[in-house]
């Protein structure tokens, strides 16, 4: 039987599992919420999935390494590899995850040239969007589309999630249109990640990975601000797991 390789991305919000065949073609993609027991969730996700080798990435990779004696790779390298699987020429990668965001510049051969991470605070992360969507009463999946319907933006000045939440609450109390506030929230995240991207990976099309890449509003705001094409795959959320699976397949992990 053909050899299969799995990659598992244990993020702060979700866990993704991707299995590829010996040629790197995706044969399975699964996803679950991380919950409060990531290893139990991982085990459940892996149950009945066959593979010859597995590589872990994401913030839970070290736990996984111990529990399953599996090799690991950082989110940076995994997302870089995943992005190249989506777009073979990618040299700029933006990943916005649940608790951090990262900008990665790649050499023409796909190797990591430079990266920058925002990992100290929720501003510019999926968590920020999630909290704001909840405060504004939007479903997170529809948050971007709702924001795109606004005709103008209500600016949000606070970067801090806690302060921004009170700011949004007071804007709601003033009777501001919640779509306009939503647009302001997206613009705030966009500015934060755009600045990081321009520092770390200032050239070429941007490949957007991670769950937040599915947010059309953020993509269009980013493209506008950067004057660069922002590309994403519908499978963007699986980029880390796919990257890890491919690295396992290529035998390049440590």
């Amino acid at each position: 039987m053909e050899r299969r390789f799995a990659g598992i991305d244990i993020g702060s919000r979700t866990i993704e599992l991707v299995v590829v065949d010996g040629k790197g073609r995706v044969v399975k993609s699964l996803k679950a919420d991380t919950g409060f027991d990531p290893m139990a969730e991982a085990r459940r996700l892996m149950d009945g999935v066959g593979y010859d080798g597995i590589m872990a990435t994401g913030y839970g990779r070290n736990l996984f390494e111990i529990a399953f004696e599996a090799p690991t790779v950082t989110e940076i390298k995994a997302h870089a590899r995943g992005a190249r699987a989506f777009f073979a020429q990618a040299t700029s990668v933006l990943d916005i995850g649940g608790q951090d965001s990262k900008a990665i510049a790649l050499f023409a051969n796909g190797k990591v040239k430079k990266f920058e991470m925002n990992d100290r605070c929720a501003a510019g992360t999926g968590k920020f969007l999630e909290i704001m969507a909840r405060t504004l009463g939007f479903d997170i999946e529809a948050f971007g589309d709702e924001a795109l319907r606004a005709e103008k933006e209500t600016a949000i000045s606070s970067m801090c999630t806690v302060f921004a939440e009170s700011e949004v609450t007071s804007l709601i109390a003033k009777g501001q249109d919640r779509r306009e506030i939503a647009l302001g929230v997206h613009a705030s995240v966009m500015r934060r990640v755009a600045a990081m991207l321009q520092r770390a990976a200032p050239e070429g099309d941007v490949v957007f990975t991670g769950g937040v890449a599915n947010n059309g509003c953020l993509r269009s705001l980013l493209a506008q601000k950067l004057g660069r094409k922002v590309r994403h795959s519908p499978q963007a959320q699986f980029a880390g797991a796919l990257g890890a699976a491919l690295i396992a397949m290529e035998g390049k992990g440590r």
């Binding site: 913030y59 940076i76 951090d100």
Partner: protein, 426 residues
């Protein structure tokens, strides 16, 4: 042994309970970080002993010296010239500033956004847990960064023996004249403290003693050029940290002994990590003992540290003081010349530091540089971005880290550093 130390600590005015806690944490950290390393040089046994006795035997030695009429001068900075202290019959020791302690008390006196090193210095005083500080007859503060110089105003209310040295911020003739004037003022102050006037002979001997210590460290540094690395960055950092505490002659002999051993290792191509392990140069803020956070993470992520461009490292120890002076004045001029070359980020402009980073990266064959900045340390954080840009122009990968002494960001740091190591492996 322990009982004798306890009464010694008690007489020094330490808070025994808090001090026990500190030693407990330190012992555990040392076990986990240092003693768990593999393939360590045997000579490191000396430093294990020094660390196990860092608040014990070494303090007893200092108190014995005091009983014999010497004075103890405590310092927080590499600009305080050890030659002058030694020549005037005083011993210079570095004061504790490498771990968080009594943070809540500290923040009653200092703003929260003060760097960890300054907060730590206050924490050790307020928590009454630094026997060096309590043994010191004179504590020297120095006007380096804004944080330190303003903090000394507050420290002056906590101790009655603070002496503040002014320092230049520009490498100009005026700057040199200021440093010279301050070193003569310091000389007079130490002479007054000890009642011992510096003579040609005593200053010459002091310069030789300190130079010998530096030469031993230079020898150790040069051996780190080898691949595989004969000594871990953690162990080399420890030697650089102990440089500030130990009896100078004994330190010199112990480092030289390790170097003899490392030379044999290099000949046998024996290393602490396999050949071709990614090699990293650390550049930036000082890593005062027991701040081992960064090298612990780096060397646990599949890389080896081959040099420290740091006050606790080559910035502090490079350059000898000329031994050719025949008079006290000539030797004082040589001391000024030597220290005026220290490329601390309080100087503006400070192009020499960048040149030194590039020189070290080449000499130690570093694959990449990690710029280590303490949060809120404006001078080094300001230099971090230009350093990164300049290194990238030379195709030397650089990772900027901004952190403190707490372990709360250890997970994030590990991810960044592992990713950097992956990047270096290509």
């Amino acid at each position: 042994m322990s009982d004798a130390y306890r009464s010694m600590w008690k007489e020094l005015g330490l808070d025994l309970e808090a001090h026990d806690m500190l030693l407990g944490v330190l012992g555990n950290a040392y076990q986990e970080i240092y003693l768990s390393q593999k393939e360590r040089p045997e000579g490191m046994g000396y430093f294990d002993f020094v660390m196990s006795e860092v608040h014990g035997l070494r303090i007893k030695e200092l108190l014995d010296e005091k009983a014999a009429g010497r004075k103890i001068v405590g310092s927080y900075c590499v600009f305080v010239p050890e030659e002058i202290a030694l020549a005037a019959n005083a011993t210079l020791v570095g004061l504790c500033s490498g771990a968080d302690f009594a943070t809540e008390e500290v923040e009653k006196l200092l703003p929260r956004n003060t760097c960890a090193l300054i907060k730590s210095a206050f924490g050790f005083k307020l928590g009454k847990v630094c026997p060096y500080l309590e043994s010191a007859d004179m504590i020297v503060g120095e006007n380096t960064c804004d944080g330190k110089k303003k903090a000394y105003e507050s420290l002056g209310h906590l101790v009655d023996n603070l002496y503040v040295m002014d320092l230049p911020q520009v490498k100009s003739e005026n700057g040199r004249a200021l440093l010279r004037a301050e070193y003569f003022r310091f000389k007079a102050a130490v002479e007054k403290l000890t009642g011992s006037v510096i003579t040609t002979e005593s200053l010459k001997a002091a310069i030789q003693t300190v130079n010998a210590k530096r030469k031993a460290i230079h020898r150790l540094s040069a051996l780190r050029e080898a691949d595989p690395a004969p000594i871990s960055g953690l162990d080399a950092l420890l030697a650089n940290q102990v440089f500030f505490y130990d009896n100078p002659a004994r330190f010199t002999a112990s480092v030289n002994k390790i170097c003899d051993e490392l030379e044999k290792r290099i000949e046998a191509r024996q290393g602490v990590f396999p050949a071709k392990t990614p090699r990293i140069l650390i550049s930036g803020c000082p890593q005062a003992v027991p701040n081992w956070k960064l090298p612990f993470i780096v060397e646990g992520s599949g890389a080896v540290i081959v040099g420290e461009e740091s006050c606790v490292g080559e910035r502090g120890t490079r350059n000898l003081t000329s031994e050719s002076g025949q008079t006290v004045d000539e030797m004082m001029a040589a001391i000024v010349d030597r220290y005026f070359q220290v490329d601390c980020a309080i100087f503006t402009p400070n192009a020499e530091r960048l040149a030194h980073i590039e020189e070290m990266a080449a000499a130690y064959r570093a694959d990449g540089v990690i710029h280590y900045g303490l949060q809120f340390c404006q001078p080094y954080l300001m230099e971090a971005i230009p350093v990164e840009k300049a290194l990238e122009k030379k195709n030397i990968p650089c990772l900027r880290i901004e952190t403190d002494y707490s372990m709360e960001d250890a997970g994030q740091l590990k991810t960044r550093i592992e990713a950097f190591v992956e990047q270096l492996k290509g």
